[in-house]
Symmetry: D2
């Protein structure tokens, strides 16, 4: 039982380790491999030492390896977890700044920002998948890498790896509502409809009783993610939507306000990338403390709450053939009948050790369907553009995105982004033989 963490130098790794350590009885892990790229060597080294301290403290017979050799790390893995950031925070910052310079929302996973991140990231993930197909064909790939929906769709379409895309969004709702209603998470039953970071809750049952009207009529937005600004929801809007939107819906339903706020941050040089850079710096300083042998509290400020819990619970369900329900990014196959069969969707799934099967989603009302379809069509184009390096497809993708106000803006932003990202976009700049175009 070998777990491989690609992007092992990520600041999230301590949380993941903590989770694995807690579930070791069920998981029976024998090896953990942390692997990273040369640019991440320093962070990886810090993480390795912290990990050793954590494992030692738990007194477990887990062999830890940190390496830059990805193929060695993947070989014979049971589970591969990807949590990488191609181009590091520098490129994320570019995504935000170029978007906002032209008056377009710049966000890590949505809109022009998420689009550029997808173009950079998808080829790297497909490359990893080739290694997995060759070196660990039975492994499950748990993809955390954002934009998780786009990346998972690319893998589902262009690889044979057993992949599941994972987000901390759904588990946060279970946590939130179990807190609200003071019951166990097991007593909460949610129906999710949508795709990663665009997911509606259409049913909420607490111990078998429908309670969604509670939320639609009274609660403002206490169920929000930490990394998304919050202005609350209008109750007339919520009630007529007849569903609970997720935090990322604000980019669509409150576009004007979000843009205004982002522009202010941009002018103050305090966009989300700037903030994260600061947080990360502080975290890695903490991580270096030789007395630290557990996940520090400060990590919870980072934004990805319960990421590791979602991942470790899933790994445990897979490993124990639990038949439990998780909310995951998987191939549609007709589950949401208004989306293409080969699209990646985020819905409730039954997890067995050999497969992950979505639960049928019934009728999707037009107010959800319309937004879902246009964003999914954008995603389809983006995946195609990322794989082929076709600039025309990229232009159409960006133009179609609801957060981009015109084809002209799309073209301007696209060209600037392509230029800055050139080192990460060989598919746009080289032919198949690797020769520059």
């Amino acid at each position: 039982m070998k777990i491989t963490v690609i992007g092992g130098g990520s600041s999230y790794t301590p949380e993941l380790l903590e989770g694995i350590i807690e579930q070791q009885e069920l998981l029976g892990v024998s090896e953990i491999w942390l692997v990273d790229v040369p640019e991440g060597q320093e962070k990886l080294s810090i993480m390795e030492k912290l990990a050793r301290r954590m494992i030692k403290k738990a007194d477990l017979p887990i062999k830890l390896t940190a390496t830059l050799d990805r193929r060695a790390a993947i070989k014979d893995a049971s589970y591969v977890i990807t949590q990488i950031r191609v181009g590091q925070l520098e490129m994320r910052r570019n995504d935000e700044y170029i978007s906002l310079k032209h008056g377009v929302i710049g966000q890590e996973t949505t809109g022009a920002g998420g689009f550029m991140k997808a173009l950079r990231t998808i080829p790297v993930l497909l490359d990893i998948c080739q290694d997995i197909e060759e070196l660990a064909p039975d492994a499950w790939l748990l993809n955390f890498t954002n934009p998780a929906g786009l990346v998972t769709e690319a893998i589902l379409k262009h690889s044979d790896v057993k992949v599941v895309g994972l987000c901390n969004n759904p588990i946060n709702y279970y946590k939130k509502f179990s807190h609200t209603y003071n019951v166990d998470m097991e007593d909460i039953s949610l129906t999710f409809v949508g795709i990663n970071h665009l997911i509606w809750i259409t049913e909420l049952y607490v111990k078998g009783k429908s309670r969604i009207e509670d939320i639609l009529t009274g609660v403002s937005d206490s169920y929000e993610a930490r990394n998304i600004p919050s202005f609350g929801w209008d109750l007339d809007f919520l009630q007529s939507l007849q569903a609970i939107p997720c935090g990322y819906h604000k980019y669509y339903y409150q576009t004007d306000r979000l843009l205004e706020q982002q522009l202010e941050q941009y002018h103050n040089h305090e966009t989300r990338a700037d903030q994260v850079r600061k947080v990360e710096k502080e975290l890695f300083e903490l991580y270096q403390d030789p007395s630290l042998d557990k996940k520090p509290q400060a990590l919870e400020q980072r934004g990805g709450a319960y990421y590791s819990e979602a991942a470790v619970r899933l790994m445990t369900s897979l490993h124990t053939n639990s038949k439990r329900i998780h909310t995951l990014n998987v191939r549609n196959n007709g589950t949401i009948s208004c989306l293409p069969k080969d699209a990646c969707i985020e819905v409730n799934c039954v997890v067995e050790s050999h497969r992950v099967t979505p639960l049928q989603v019934g009728y999707v009302p037009p107010q959800i369907r319309g937004l879902l379809q246009v964003v999914k069509a954008y995603e389809e184009l983006t995946v195609d553009a990322a794989v082929t390096g076709d600039k025309g497809l990229a232009l159409q993708a960006l133009t179609l995105h609801p957060l981009v106000p015109s084809s002209e803006k799309a073209k301007t932003v696209l060209e600037e982004m392509l230029e800055v990202n050139q080192p990460y976009l060989p598919q746009f700049y080289q032919d198949k033989q690797g020769v520059n175009r």
Copy 2:
């Protein structure tokens, strides 16, 4: 917690009672009502006494009522179980004899026999559903009444009752394979595709490993139902089918042989109805034995093995909000994308206390799809005919059925059956005001 058994005088009732008694700790039943029609009064009375002996032996505080007052029985029930036979065995015998007289397979749930049973039974079940809507709107209806798929489709289309159709077929496969592989039923994972009594197993996993090739390449037919004759399967056929057919598939894949055998039974006056009549007679003699206070062994000869286990497991899952997987008859909603959305299908479902959600079924290969579609179209016509009393729809339904060799045969059989069944088919003989046409 009140359980109502409609058709309480059925010979299956002792098995059902045994199951409820065993699960009483989880179910917490306070009342059981057995209800039947006047023609079944004698059987009901025998059953009532046996039931009292069984409850007494178990020393449980369950109040038992036996009655002919259906509305009183339904009022405030938590679960209603229907296991009725409209027209009793006499009419089943007619179904078989009229079919075979014209050289057409006569079977209780499939072909001309199942067709006529549906015409008789659907109006009665819809009537029961009206009572449930009025008197126990929150009750779950567990429909066992055959042809269970057709009856459940009629209810799904023409009533608002929370209904689930149930068959012992799927649980028998779990039992069978847990025996074959010597593992717990929980370790067996099966994918079912199809409709009631026409269900293919397309995947068999044992502890997470695919084992379906074992069955497709080596086993003949030891996994058969007791009430269906068995000639084994040709292995070339099984391997190219790439799925395990169910027992009832023999009527379709071995039509010529099955017909030959049925004709022989017909000429000897030993059709299945004749056999069941004999078995039932013996069972009720046993049931009258005042020293009997448990389900007699002999019941297991009856053909509906594990019926009650399936029902009681489902009730327990509903009652405890278990999120366990059961194979049930539910509304399609796109789960099997080659069938109409409002069709009733039999597939794996997650059971919660407030809903039953099918798991997505992926690609259905043409060898399965074609037969499934034609039989489902027959079912759609049959439900329409049963509800409207439209003789033309009935003729089209029967003509379309793969076991009926021509429209001429269909017409002859239909007319004879309609005449014999006249007392049970007011929809064909009266207008909406109840006046004879």
Copy 3:
């Protein structure tokens, strides 16, 4: 052969009359009825006189009647043409001004403006349809009334009238390309995909040769409608779109520029409604000239070029059972498989006297599909809101529209519009019995 023109006082009527007069040999019209509402009596009277002069000049035995009695006008009609404007230009002006006041594009058929026009217009058209069902059940209804797609969808969903929705957009492309390539219109073959005012040309054949690349690579926007401002198309955009957008696409693909221009017009009190008001005034002065006995040249400035040609050609095709191809608004029925079956779409159709059958549209690429689906979902909600008077549905519709930047803006604009339009929106202000809510 009786033709009834509802909204007979419209400034477009002379063009329509000219067309009918030209095709009289094929049409054999015996009666033309012009009908209007009391508010339009003066215009109707002017039109009646002009019409009499035109018929007289053509020396045709057509009986003309002008009336305010709609039921008399509809009775026994062969063709009913609707070209009404509920609330007259005053309300159109309000649509534009309220939208722009809140920084939202205000346009007659698209966005918030078209939305409010639909809410006012649909109930009136459904009322007309009730009259047609009763008084002229065999009549064809040719609906010109904007927003033609929304209105036709409402009729298709809520009436049994034989309706076809009509727009001058498609015929303009035939005219344009026959001019460009100097061939007859018959030699031009176009494939249209989309819905009214959101229609893409995906194929252009001239005498059997594909010529669409000519347009995608070289032509700017000479194929534009007169009433939509034009900034040209970027050729990279066109080529990657792989389709020719229509004029109204600019509101979606060039939202920022169009909004900027509209805001300027708004501040100068020169929006489109203001312009049309001026043009109409001039036209009716011309129409009153007792020496005028034909359609004046000036009408061609009005914006609806070839409207009447489209209508009269269609009437002639219907009347002569021509089996010719027209581009029309009809029920989808699977023609565009990514849209709901009961949606109204605008595609090529074969016209027979008894039916209008769409030609199958093949694959729709994601760049078209995504925008089409979101706008169609908006339309579905708008039709539902217009029919039910449900304010929540109206809010969801407007929020979903790509030209509306947030649910907050949608709510503000909606409430202001509902208030101003109160006299025209009984469905929002009264219950079914007509009592104010």
Copy 4:
């Protein structure tokens, strides 16, 4: 303008020539090439001489070439017509005799007979298509070769040739009803739903008035094909079907009777193949008459009435870009929404010179849908079996066919047929390198 007839030695050729000669003014043919296989050389030679006499009589400047060089014949053709019979009548006779020997209907295009013909024919047609792709990429292929639906589906799925499948069935209905109602064929409007040789007429309009009830309530079967035995239709059946079945439907709706009759013919050695052999012999004797310079009357006995009229009308429509409606075998693409998108269907199409576009077919009622779906699934499997040589797929195809009573019969018939047809089935007996398996 070069027309190539593959299978030029066929007895149907004179009719085709007659049709081309009649339409020469519109078609402007410069060359006709007749090509055949060595086994058909004698017939080809007879046909060549007759053709020369016919062209001479018409005094047209058409160059005629008869050859065994298929590639030369195809090169630069405008239209390629295929009317071949792989294995000649001998193999057709085997198809019938092997089927009937085992009590299974043996028919040229349907059931086991049509199945085996498809396995022999599809590889040859795909080979021809490779030549067309290379030597005449702009040519239209008009496929007459039976089973026309299966063969055309194989070409649509496995080749890029512009193909249309053609049958004389539809035109016969136009002829028939124009005769019945004494109107021009142009005044008849029919809606066809289905696939080749399994096609229902769901609407019949005569000069814009619906007349289908005439047929459903009164006419027996005067609209039948000459080569299919006729027992009439039961009127109760027709009226509840709500559609006019085609002649081949008798194999499905009157299976028992048709089988009985075929068995009698089989025992008398007078099956259809025997009959055709006799007719063909007589025809070729006639054709050799040096004074014959036109199509002989006797050809009309042959069974393919109006075959050539259908073909020549289609060629003319293509050539003149007529936009007329023909009933053709084309890719489904959603036209019949209950069938796979890539299936071949037979429906009304608009014919332009560059494309053939199906008209949307609306709701298909279950009595039609069920039979259509099961036969189409059989066809899908048959095409796959023919292309891959997979015996398992062949077994599943034949088992699924409604005219085959069991998998056991399917296996017996299949094995016998495969053996007899070995010389024509390299795909089943050789690997891809042509080495015997």
